[in-house]
Amino acid sequence: MSTTDTTTDPDTDGPPRELLNATNVKKHFPLAEGLFDRLFGESQVVRAVDGVDLTVRAGETVGIVGESGSGKSTLGRTVSRLYEPTDGSITFDGEHIETHSGRELRSIRRRVQYVFQDPMSSLNPRKTVGESVARPLTVHDIADGEAKWDRVADLFEEVGLGRSQLDAYPHELSGGQRQRVGLCRALVTEPDLVVFDEPVSALDVTLQAQILNLIDRLQREFELSYLLISHDLNVVRQVCDRVAVMYAGEIVERGTVADIFENPKHPYTRALLEAIPQVEGGQRSGRQSLGGEPPSATTPPSGCRFHPRCPEFIDGSCSGRTPTLQSVEGDTGHEAACHWLDRSEAERAAHTPPSRAEREVIEESSGD
């Protein structure tokens, strides 16, 4: 479905320009504590996003995939400056925005927009949807009075809502309509980058398809770039050009959609693909499901954060040394953070992971 040509920048005929570039972004949340803990104990911090590099080029759709606790939503909110990053740099069209505030931040808001997951709770129940969508226009002094309402009404029609719904309140609309309103609000300032947080998770399957098609069409029509956050790999596959897989606050694998889906290298990516319930493929009996739970965000496992659950655990290097993202083959942009990349494929295929008891011994000796 992604038919945008991202290989050349229409203006300069060179590679497409980088719209968003995030380097080593971290977002930590301090845990609220009592006086005693603060004085005598160690301060606990939730490492929601712990060192992520991310690039979005003009015209493309980048997907961030992960389960709960992966930090994907926090990442989306941090790069769109809903949160201020704890560390790292974020540049938008060349401009550093990580420390922006006040008027500078406001001007960025016009160009980077965020669509929330739940359109019901992200709309003020006391404003009509028309008012909610029109507000950004007055905030940024883009339009006012009748011109403002005309713009909003046109946008409503563009996404499949009627002009008459301008006066409706959020609770009077259906889920799908509310989602479209959320889209309108994000698009009304004609941004360059839109960050979607689970745009279709709350919708029925048939509505999902409608909204996905709509999002795709709007991208072409308004020349937008997208950062799409989802736990649903199928959605990501349908809509995105490139994908990054997150686990426990880090990116564990990234590449084009083809790379990730046809040639996944990280054990977590593989487990994720295995786990998705698919209509094709029949009964699932006999498939290995990933045990364990996502790790603690305050004290992540040492070394590779995935190692306690990894079905391809090697040895002490997994629990001792954190793997970094390395190129898979050549320079295609497909990268994975796994120690298996230092070894051969044959070795990997033949490997049997140690038993639980053996693992415990290994972890103990590597100081886990």
């Binding site: 709960s68 799908g176 795709d216 349908q238 009996s285």
Partner: protein, 375 residues
């Protein structure tokens, strides 16, 4: 054998100052012993209401059916006292949100032990006084048979360190663990049928896979029938033996999972399957969608509720839904006027009228149905 046999179920909710809401209208459902039956539909299809009608948990609703038999006996003829025994002993329910379904001030082990005492086969007193004593004073003794059974059940559902988890409170566990606890609790009474209402919808995909595996294993090993309610066709395809597809209060199609997914007959099922973003993106670009949205229960068109969105609707569609057994697998029934008895779904086709970019269209804008080829 057929454990649950429901025929022509209708559930209506009376509404003050307004028309009654016909949530379910003419549903047949047959659940076989030791099999997993998937009840699938989107929101508003009536699947949850159908599930709750089995447990007779619909206060205030008007329920009518030609037949509503469990093990051959009419469930709706039973007294409330008999139903209380059946709930837990024979039919158990697993809910979507484990956190709100579990008692937050009792340990997990306590809750399961309580179920075991009331519904299971243990030689232990479960009278009011002893229960009160346990709740407020002593708790369940760790050597008591109900506690041992609770620990066993926790192990059965795949919880590591069951002894320790049994002494935990629900909020201390993760979502996946809580869901397993609910399943263990449901098993506490040795039921023959478990009704699971969207048990994995709120869980991460990797956790969901584990739970589904667990359900499958339980079904196979312990011969427990499971009625699995879900909106996720993938879950049904991977886990269920039989499937019933519901839309706006009625059954559209049912059959074996293999048969139905291989040879979907009803236009709704076909549309649903086509709009799932799965596998490699289709070359023609956008997903095929079913335009519009499901009608409100009070505004359903006469005859087939899918009529106004169906790309193949024609005049007969305003007549009551038929029941045609199609040649697509065992017991494969399509409730659609496009079919006559014994048709092969693969050979009945029509032009898809869905707009290419999936925009909502008024029913009036749709192009009228084209020819249906037959055979």
């Amino acid at each position: 054998m057929t454990l649950l046999d429901v025929e022509d179920l209708a559930v209506t909710f009376p509404v003050e100052d307004g028309p009654d809401v016909p949530a379910v209208d003419g549903v047949d459902l047959r659940v076989e012993q030791g099999k997993i039956h998937g009840l699938v539909g989107e929101s508003g299809s009536g699947k949850s209401v159908t599930a709750r009608s089995i447990m007779r948990l619909l206060d205030g609703a008007e329920v009518s059916a030609d037949r509503f038999d469990y093990r051959g006996e009419d469930l709706y003829a039973k007294s409330e006292a008999e139903m209380r025994r059946i709930r837990g002993d024979e039919i158990a329910m697993v809910f979507q949100d484990a956190l709100s379904a579990l008692n937050p001030v009792m340990t997990v082990g306590e809750q399961i032990a309580e179920v075991v005492r009331h519904h299971g086969d243990v030689d232990e007193s479960a009278g009011l006084l002893s229960e009160l004593r346990r709740k407020y004073v002593t708790g369940t003794n760790e050597s008591a048979p109900s506690w041992r059974r609770a620990v066993d059940l926790l192990e059965t559902v795949g919880i590591p360190d069951p002894e320790e988890i049994a002494t935990s409170y629900p909020h201390q566990l993760s979502g996946g663990q809580r869901q397993r606890v609910m399943i263990a609790s449901a098993l506490g009474g040795d039921p023959s049928l478990i009704v699971a209402d969207e048990p994995t919808t709120a869980l991460d995909v990797t956790v969901e896979a584990g739970i589904l595996d667990e359900l499958r294993r339980l079904c196979d090993e312990f011969d427990v029938a499971i009625l699995l309610i879900t909106h996720d066709l993938g879950v049904v395809a991977e886990t269920c033996d039989h499937v019933t597809v519901m839309y706006s209060g009625s059954v559209m199609e049912r059959g074996t999972t293999a048969g139905l997914f291989e040879n979907p007959a009803h236009p709704y099922t076909k549309g649903l399957l086509r709009s799932i973003p799965e596998g490699a993106p289709s070359e023609d670009g956008p997903l095929a969608t079913i335009p519009g949205s499901a009608p409100e229960p009070t505004e359903r068109p006469a005859g087939c509720p899918f009529r106004d969105r169906c790309p193949a609707a024609f005049d007969a569609c305003s007549d009551p839904l038929p029941e045609h057994v199609v040649d697509g697998g065992e017991g494969h029934v399509a409730r659609c006027h496009l079919y006559t008895e014994g048709d092969d779904p693969g050979e009945v086709t029509w032009e898809t009228g869905a707009t290419a970019n999936g925009e909502a269209t008024d029913a009036a804008d749709r192009t009228p149905a084209t020819e249906v080829t037959d055979g």
